[in-house]
Amino acid sequence: MENKHLISITDYSKEEIFRILDLATDFEKNPNQNLLDNKVIATLFFEPSTRTRLSFESAISRLGGKFIGFTDSSSSSVSKGESLKDTIMTVANYSDMIVMRHPIEGSARWASEVSRVPIVNAGDGANQHPTQTLLDLYSIRKTQGTLDNLNVYFVGDLKYGRTVHSLLQAMSMFNTTFNFISPEELKIPDEYKLFLDKKGLKYYEHRDFSDIISHADIIYMTRIQRERFSDPMEYEKTKNSYVLKNDMLENTKPNMKVLHPLPRVKEIHTNVDENKKAYYFTQALNGVYTRQAIITHILGLKK
């Protein structure tokens, strides 16, 4: 059965994921299509996320739709103490679909149970960010020609990084070999290792960010944030150990691409940007096509 909402990447089958990626390919060839004519999409950002919001609003605009909403909760009735349920039930009356970002985990699932219009989760706390996962999958398939049997390296904050967890869950459908490079304090949680064990997939953990990346098809970089460390000394020691520099890419495979969900701070040196293997800005562009695909797929506007 096809989904009415997009809440968690784990709700989507391989077939439905492929359907969205194929639609995104179509939008990349032909981005301006008037499919959302006379449609209103609400973009409710209960916490700010400029990049995700602009990407959605760009996608809606390219489809000829209109959008309404707020960019952080201080400018909405939420600041008066309105419950999420009331906000969603009200806004569902004003729109054909709700795109929402919320700091509380599970908020999107809850919204989908009270809303009469489709909900697209644009991030619920540390839980899920499925449109990011789909654009990551799109970027991987586009650059590698396939999603099957790839060697994917995740680098940085693997403990709190929800983009890592969701992408790991999605890639586990494609016989991926995983490599996890992180400081001890931010290593991949046991529940994900157990998940991979159950699926019989290979994974390796590393503390050093070294020439082991020569086997990678994809290097997925993430930001290491100061506030994640209980010990600030530990942060100072580790912050420079997980930085990707241009010379490190010398012995990597020719098909290899560097991805990053952005915003980047210092974990990818700017001298990587000119390298052909740097893909993170194109990845962000792919986000617009992927979100066009998600919106039109859920609203059933594409045959």
């Binding site: 968690s8 784990t10 419950s83 999420l84 349920k85 700091p103 509380i104 985990e105 599970g106 908020s107 699932r109 809850w110 619920d124 706390g125 540390a126 839980n127 899920q128 529940e191």
Partner: protein, 153 residues
Amino acid sequence: MEMNDKKLQVSAIKNGTVIDHIPANSLFKVINILGLDKIETQMTVGSNFESKKLGLKAIIKITDVFFIDDDINKIALVAPEAKLNIIKDYKVVEKKVVEVPDNIKGIAKCGNPKCITNHEGIVPKFTVVNKKKVAIKCHYCEKITDSEHMKIF
């Protein structure tokens, strides 16, 4: 003989249910889950008995009360080893063991303080992901709560 007179007798019940092998520290959770604080028939509760399996165990004897399986299975989250004896006319007519259900609704709280169920009045729902060492996955925030961190309403 005098000594015997002063001995506390936990008497057998004529009709009702005996719940045995409750971990002593789960006793009050079991009482809560089954709503035993609200029943009006005779009930005997004993706790901190020595048990080879559990360390310290508790036992509850309730007169004239019988439970349906769905209710009984709810206590599996806190007392997975519990055994029930159904008593009719002083005789055990049936023995039951609890079974951890596949899904639970409204019994436990999600252990994640950032979960929506802990912020708005929502009945929490879970999938049981481990039945031996009970662990439940929140339907909303997708986080796993293990039995150690489980809070019962």
